[in-house]
Symmetry: C2
Subunit: 679 residues, 2 copies
């Protein structure tokens, strides 16, 4: 009784993580080869909902029932018969009772998500592989250049029934004469891709890449040899290597909060800010997850997360059809997450949250500063001037931002959950980093990409994200309603002047995949039909505007398209099931087809009228690179908005103070007197 | 020779404005009734281009040819025969030579744009009108309530051939017992609209409004009388009247720039910032206009402006079909522009620009702080982490913002031209203010609006903006290319794995109206075909992503739709002509049909292959109000992006310093130690 349990939504501590590891090892002392991930197994919703209801009602006591504290432990274990592939275990440990409650072996038709230690082994194997050494020797590398291996998932398997733990390495060369380990090697791509069979720890093949352009054959006539980098030139991004250095005329701009932030944090997980109250947790598959979101005491969302993303590349030349990342599902974003830096990744007064990750031995390690929390000003929030009196009332729009950033080889993604004072939430994605390039012959261009640096072709690709929204609009029984504004013909009785349009609402009462339609101003309301807004008489709700971005372009019969069914609709509606968190299924690594993803979920045809509905919003960016995206691309920003619609009885931000910021200043003569002769 | 002329792109000074007035008055000493506007007549492009070329080449001397300095003077003059409608003059004055070079009388088929002094007369006439007094007396206003008249343009005339200078007044009641002149009268709408014939200075009619809802007749069976406000309740927004006051837990957040801003200003018009160089000017029709935009010495745009916007309302009951504002063209935004306030409308170190407006007598008056210029931080600009070394290089995204704000009766619009360090420009619109409401009977609802307060129905409407972009991509001869990403079927020879997609480009070589198509990732490149990017080999260009928002919904045969042809396409391409600045034509006030707008311009079928092309981007918001939009709505933000595509040879922001902001802080114990009992 005396022991204080952590909140069911807080992530596992280092102690809990270690204990989960020890419990697994105690049971299988010799066979465990490596650990992949250990993280909190989320409580069953039914149990958690009861707990949260008690918590919000203030009736929680030390004897209240609590969901069991569970750890999900993913590890690799040698098979009893040594010639069989190792088993991938996903074992659930009860940390209250210190015992294993379930063990699952990942089916042999799937591959467990990769771990970065496997990538380390790939890099090491390439370095020592005579096969690669011989092949590389056929290139005349410029003096001072060394090989760099960039590990990638293998992508979808080509052969029916093939399930192999393959990884591939993109190969670049780095100019060591810069004496700078951060010299940009991506400017020097080599036209080979070694393939490793990880089970055998062996480089099994080197794929030869075509380096031609428009009109050339899709497969190379012969392996390219010789001075393939002779026409490549450096393209640096670290400031000390930029020719001419960095610009000198950018004056500092700082965000200061002399009285501290407006948020408070309890238990390293509970965030309270401007009538919002939610929990934030970190896990190695999804990154930052938002839980149990309330505004002014009313429930809005049960859970909000980045579920998946895929990046299919559109270069038709083999093996580039296999360039298709699932940056969350391939192996989780755990070790890809950035440790955020004060004053760089966010400004002002910052709260950092640490995560817990494990090394291959299962040792729990603090992952420092994987999430940052800060406030930001985003211009005017609302304003009105009474022109009779001249009085303007103007408020600023303050936002609370939960940010995490991942680096996947060449590329980075920035994810921001943003809360505003008017009851709205946005999920913002920013794509940046270095576009993936391959070698192209001097003077050539190609329709499937853009030459962004001499000899470097940035291939066309798409980024398609999926945000999972588990709403709880004044309760867990909600209904999604499609709302459109449609033209109406002139009619003497109903529309005599032709200015009326129809606002048509359609309840979506069965699980389904639907699409954005901006020409109809199509939005989707998540309503609680059991509760009416006392002012408008309409059901209380939130709405989402699914960004009407391009869906997956790959041929529907292609492996790329099969693997990302989720990218075929802008919005999927499913009925909640415990553990269903991943839009492309649990095991997209080298999958041939999405299994257990949203397409399979909707096939259940679940009833969704006032049920526990989950929304999956899929949007993205067709990225045909510009030269301006090189060597590091400016952020491409996308946003998903989740806003109240007749949930409140007025603008919730109407009570935001309109006080003037007293530190703002007018420019002084010095900045504006820069004189030029007038003519 | 000794006299120094202002730059041809700078707005008229007070002295120049007064002189233009005096020159007009000298010629017509007795007949001028009122002045409407006096502003700089923009130089003919051919002349200005030559001047700017000299300026940019550094070869400008005091003897270089300059475009004449011209003033456009709009005024009302009594007709010789007193029973004829007054003449509306638009006279061009040469300020170098101090004489009138042209006089134009607005055709009697048009109405000259309104002036706010006409609205003052409308309000005054309503107050003294016995007709209105009698009608108002039929209502039982609550004790202490006074009438408030909200002047509006009349909207499109109903009768063929009718051209009358009518204005209408929306009528509300204000609770004087608050002793606060800013008490929100919009919460108390009265069901009448007086109509004034301005020529006669007479209230000619009172339109009776229906107050029913779904299923009720569109026209009132009888004028409503009695306690029509009895079910209305107050809804205040000024802080001292908000029940419970403003929230107390918002801590200050300030932007400080200890070394001042990074921009410099010359001549009160030339802005230089982070390799950008442009002029900003103010005029009473368009507000802030951006001219002669260069980045790093290269020409990007000749001119960028907000050309027009329309707000048609969708309540089918007469006379609401005439609720349709053209907030720029109805009368210019001159006296509707806000005087911006330091620390409220923008933070940090601010440069304010003043404008010049005239009163009815033509006296030039300084319009203080009509534009503000400031820098802002917008998160991460670009970032890459080398996972091998762990080194992250991260830059912040600094933006320069040119802002102006207008108040049109109940509503406000915030316009931001934003420049970033990566060579991109955005035009951001924010809609806020108070939604337009009409009286609705207690307990009723209506399909054409939302009850946002008891007795107050906010009618559905659209806001459709038009941004005029006059590009000069490395010169004035440019070509617009439609660029789409389209699926391709699997094909053994060209697309063996089905992952290839086609990027299809189509030159738009004749003036045309086209549409956004996000499902095809349709973008429009503005290219200079005469200049290739040395890296990619493609023509240098900028691209725009026209926001794929809903077009005008009104029946194509309706007056509403006839008046805003511009709202029927997302993008119009026209060939430049001097003076063609307005998407809905010069005279939309009470028009029955758009004349001289973009639809007429494209009908010329001008050739646009490497010609002086102008783009008109039309986007907006279908606004079916939420209860949360009341009493003042949170900003609805829309953005148009104009970004380089193969214009530069690399990311122009690659040289932005990645220095750490040293004032950012971690949260201290005090903000995070708020303890709750753990359970």
């Amino acid at each position: 009784m005396g022991k204080i349990s952590p909140h069911p939504l807080s992530a596992l501590s280092i102690e809990e993580t270690s204990r989960a590891r020890d419990i697994v090892l105690a049971e299988s002392p010799k066979n465990v080869i490596q650990f992949r991930m250990i993280y909190r197994q989320e409580p069953k919703k039914a149990e958690l909902v009861d707990f949260l209801a008690l918590e919000h009602s203030g009736k929680l006591t030390s004897t209240s029932p609590r969901p069991p504290r569970l750890a999900s432990v993913h590890y690799v274990q040698a098979h009893q018969s040594p010639d069989r592939r190792a088993d991938e275990f996903e074992t659930i440990v009860d940390l209250d009772k210190n015992f294993i409650i379930s063990k699952k072996i990942v089916g042999t038709e799937y591959l467990a998500g990769l771990s970065t230690w496997e990538f380390d082994i790939l890099v090491e194997s390439c370095k020592t592989s005579p096969l690669i050494q011989e092949r590389v020797a056929q290139f005349d590398l410029p003096p001072g250049f060394d090989i760099v291996i960039e590990p990638w998932p293998y992508g979808g398997m080509d052969q029916p029934g093939e399930v192999r733990r393959y990884f591939q390495g993109l190969v670049y060369a780095v100019d060591t004469r810069t004496n700078n380990p951060d010299s940009n090697f991506y400017a020097f791509p080599l036209p080979i891709i070694p393939v490793m069979d990880f089970e055998k720890r062996e480089i099994v093949r080197i794929d030869e890449l075509a380096t031609g352009g428009a009109g050339d054959d899709l497969v190379p006539a012969a392996p390219r040899t010789g001075g393939v980098l002779n026409h490549c030139v450096s393209a640096e991004y670290v400031p000390e290597l930029i020719p001419g250095g960095t610009r000198k005329d950018l004056k500092p701009l700082s965000v200061v909060q002399p009285e501290g932030p407006s948020f408070s944090i309890v238990d390293e997980s509970l965030v309270e800010w401007q009538k919002w109250r939610f929990r934030v947790s970190f896990n190695p598959r999804e990154g930052a997850v938002i839980h149990d979101v309330h505004y002014d005491g009313r429930s809005v969302l049960y859970r909000l997360s980045i579920s998946e993303m895929t990046v299919p590349y559109a270069d038709p030349r083999p093996p580039f059809h296999r360039k298709q990342a699932f940056d969350f599902g391939d192996g989780g974003i755990g070790h890809a997450v950035n440790s955020l830096t004060l004053g760089c990744d966010c400004l002002g007064v910052i709260k950092h949250f640490d995560g817990v990750l494990v090394n291959p031995e299962g040792d729990a390690e603090k992952a420092a500063r994987v999430i940052c929390l800060h406030e930001q000003d985003n211009g005017i929030g609302w304003k009105h001037t009474n022109w009779r009196t001249g009085r303007a009332v103007s408020t600023r729009r303050r936002e609370l931002v939960v940010q995490f950033i991942i680096t996947l080889a060449n590329y980075e993604y920035i994810f921001n959950y943003k809360f505003d004072q008017a009851g709205a939430i946005s999920v913002e994605t920013r794509a940046t980093g270095i576009v993936s390039v391959v070698n192209i012959d001097a003077g050539k261009t190609a329709p499937w990409g853009t030459v962004v640096n001499p000899g470097a072709l940035a291939q066309n690709h798409q980024h398609i994200f999926c945000v999972r929204i588990d709403p709880a609009i004044d309760g867990h029984k909600n209904t999604v309603v499609q709302n459109e504004s449609l033209p109406l013909p002139m009619d003497a009785r109903t529309n005599p002047y032709g200015n009326l349009y129809e606002v048509k609402e359609t309840r979506l009462t069965t699980s389904v995949g639907v699409d954005a339609c901006p020409q109809n101003n199509r939005i989707f309301k998540i309503q609680n039909l059991d509760k009416k807004n006392p002012i408008s008489g309409r059901p209380v709700g939130y709405k989402i505007n699914p960004p009407p971005t391009q869906k997956v372009l790959a041929d529907p019969g292609s492996t790329q398209a099969h693997r990302c069914q989720f990218a075929k609709h802008h919005l999927w509606l499913t009925k909640y099931r415990d553990g269903e968190l991943y839009a492309a299924g649990e095991y997209p690594l080298s999958s041939k087809r999405e299994e257990g993803g949203v397409a399979d979920m909707i096939a259940r045809n679940d009833d969704l009228l006032q049920e526990d509905v989950v929304l999956w919003s899929c949007f993205g960016l067709t990225h045909n690179p510009r030269v301006e995206d090189w060597p590091v691309m400016p952020v491409e920003i996308m946003e998903l908005h989740i806003s109240p619609v007749d949930f409140f009885t007025a603008n919730p931000a109407i009570d935001v103070p309109s006080g003037k910021d007293t530190t703002s200043q007018l420019t002084t003569g010095s900045c504006c007197s820069k004189e030029k002769p007038r003519l």
